[in-house]
Amino acid sequence: SAEKVLKIGGMAPLTGPSAKTGQEIKQSAEMAFEEAGNMIGDYKVELVWIDSQSDPAKATNAYAEAVERKGIQVGLLNWHSSVAIAVMDLAAKYKIPHLFGIGGSSVINEKYRSDMDKYNGYWLKSWPVPQKTMTGYVEFLEDAIASGKFKPHSKKVVIFAEDTDWGRDIFAGAKKMFGDAGWEIVAEDFLAQNQTEFYPLLTKWKKLEPALVFGSYGMPVGITSLIKQSREVGLKVPMICDGLGWAGEWYSLAGSASDYTLDMIQKLATDKAKAWAANYEKKYGDKPSPSSGGLAYDSAKLFIKVAKRALEKTGKLDSESLRQVVLDELLTGKITYSEDEGAITVSRFSYNEQSLPDPAVGVDDWYLPIIQYKSGKGRIVYPKAWAEAEFHVIQ
């Protein structure tokens, strides 16, 4: 009797500019499956890695090959939105459900929503578009001002973002958000991905005398350089540096200059989460990032849950049965995956009609706390219910 095998195509940028992220995604997902003994029921799990090479064209070639030659039955994970856009069509064409791509940007949602029938059940994200999640920042600021902890001398804010699809999205969100809250945006800058020299920019900002600097910048070198140099040029204002914590080694690059900067990131707060991080570090030698690594780990766990359910329900595991369960139970909110069950990054993954293809956003669902760093440790300062420390305004 032939062994029952489920072939999963894990997609990540394993080479090229984002290889670091890709590697973390790969390793975290592998960890999750290993913990399950590489088995789902009586099915043996075989992970086939698809290197997206950060290039939509190359990614589609590799994807088609993985489907046809290596026979993957389901796709998992992803990082770049541009890759997602190109691969979505393939997933639909080959009728392969592709689940939990991490790439967050809104273009995926646009494409998905443009032809729901075609893509439904064939593409699912595990990171919602930033516009939905970021409102926390303004709530937090209003709260800090109201409680008198933060006394800005003016309502001037500087906004920056990385010049990527993600950055564009978050920038659009931030602009609206701050505008609505009555802030004056005095500078808007998109930063190149490989940039390390910010003296001109920072000096320019300094002269504008903002009360707050807000930005999102996922490139570890860029964001840490920005923070370090902001201290060097003497820009002493509260800084929200969304994305600082995405790379595990950020503190070894930014050092004490990162004290008091704020970030919004998967909390990795529970014991389970901490154990996972420790495990990861033991196994692979470097600190995992909660966003790429943690989310990939959670996504894989959630997938295992979905697959188990599919096996239970239909007695077999293949593209079709998985898709059925996804449509019938995951997207209707019957299957969720929460902190109690072991989710380490957010409170709960749950999907519904309105959120698609994103997970639902909310404090009890997919929600990122705001944390403030001190000596390399992040402490949650918002929402209040989770807070571990008081917000400290840099002087």
Binding site: A19, V48, P56, E68, V107
Partner: protein, 345 residues
């Protein structure tokens, strides 16, 4: 038009020769036509690889048209491809006309930039000319990122496909047609007086000028043609993959084409085509079978590239040339001494 290589062969191969094809080349093309119909190549992913191969092959031909003959490596070549791709995508998105028409618009815009580049870079030689085109490429890519109201910047621009349906096969025949069209047009130009002028300018500008060749004219013509096809290929690229990002204009992409063109053999045009398909297949297979150690395929690629350049810089074209030369040598057993003697008189 002067037929330089007047083969005394008549009949079928003579006719073929007139359109720059040898019997072997024709056989190769026939194979390319039939390949996607026979297993294992009829699988869709194989066809996708064939398409990638054909894209690079066509680009390498058009690239070699400048680099191999005029001696100017257009290091911003990917940007010209990208310009065509974006133009075609934007027009077809905004106005909604068929991509079959807009890719020519894209090609024309690329050609237009080619004209400008040709005129403006006229006084530049060697590395300076190369870097000039490179800078144009970098600037274009920067523009593509910054003009996001037009190109959607890093968010990526989605484009419609040429054909309805899921099969890649029609796309394959389309790009094959583009590739052959590129080769024939450029090949005929090289065969004509134009080719002579290009080579003369490429080898010694001053001597070419004193021989009466008008460098501006021919350099511009060359750039225009090469960039026109770059744009055409770009248009195909966009409408095939469905998404364009500024990364398409990146130097890295030029390097991919350049490598194929050089492994194919400079100033051969067809060398790029012969090199592209096996090379793409080998690279994809390497990548997929060594996926446990991502990057090792690229190391092999690098080593291979260096080895070729050190030990066999003539590339595929040289290989074939040597083959035919050996054949000739074995038939005509002229003593070497006689040869030297002739040379010595």
């Amino acid at each position: 038009m002067t037929q330089l290589t007047q083969d005394n062969s008549t009949g079928f191969s003579g006719i073929l020769g007139k359109i720059c094809l040898s019997p072997m080349g024709l056989a190769g093309l026939a194979i390319l036509f039939l390949l996607p119909l026979v297993p294992p190549f009829n699988q869709d992913y194989m066809i996708r690889w064939l398409i990638s191969g054909a894209i690079v092959a066509a680009a390498a031909v058009a690239f070699d048209f400048s680099a191999g003959y005029l001696g100017i490596v257009n290091f911003g070549y990917a940007a010209f491809i990208g310009l065509g791709a974006y133009t075609s995508a934007i027009i077809s998105n905004k106005i909604g006309i068929s991509p079959f028409i807009t890719i020519f618009a894209g090609a024309l815009v690329s050609a237009g930039l080619g004209v400008l580049t040709g005129i403006v870079s006229l006084r530049l030689r060697g590395m300076f000319a190369i870097c000039f085109t490179w800078f144009i490429g970098i600037a274009l890519m920067g523009l593509c990122l910054k003009l996001d109201w037009l190109t959607r910047g890093p968010l990526g621009l989605q484009c419609d496909g040429f054909f309805e349906g899921n099969s890649s096969l029609p796309y394959y025949y389309l790009i094959l047609a583009i590739m052959i069209f590129t080769y024939l047009v450029l090949g005929l130009m090289i065969r004509s007086d134009y080719g002579l002028a290009f080579r003369a300018i490429g080898q010694n500008m001053e001597a070419a000028m004193t021989s009466g060749v008008h460098p501006t004219k021919y350099r511009v013509i060359n750039f225009t043609m090469s960039c026109f096809f770059a744009g055409l290929i770009g248009g195909f690229y966009g409408h095939y993959y469905g998404i364009l990002t500024p990364e398409l204009l990146h130097t890295q992409k030029t390097v991919e084409v350049l490598v194929i063109a050089y492994i194919g053999g400079r100033s051969s045009l067809w060398g790029g085509i012969v090199a592209a398909f096996p090379f793409i297949f080998a690279m994809e297979l390497l990548r997929s079978s060594l996926s446990d150690l991502p990057g090792i395929n690229l190391i092999i690629y690098g080593v291979f590239l260096i080895a070729i350049m050190v030990y066999y810089p003539g590339g595929v074209a040289q290989f074939f040339k040597n083959l035919t030369a050996r054949k000739q040598r074995s038939t005509s057993s002229t003593a070497q001494k006689a040869k030297t003697a002739e040379a010595g008189v």
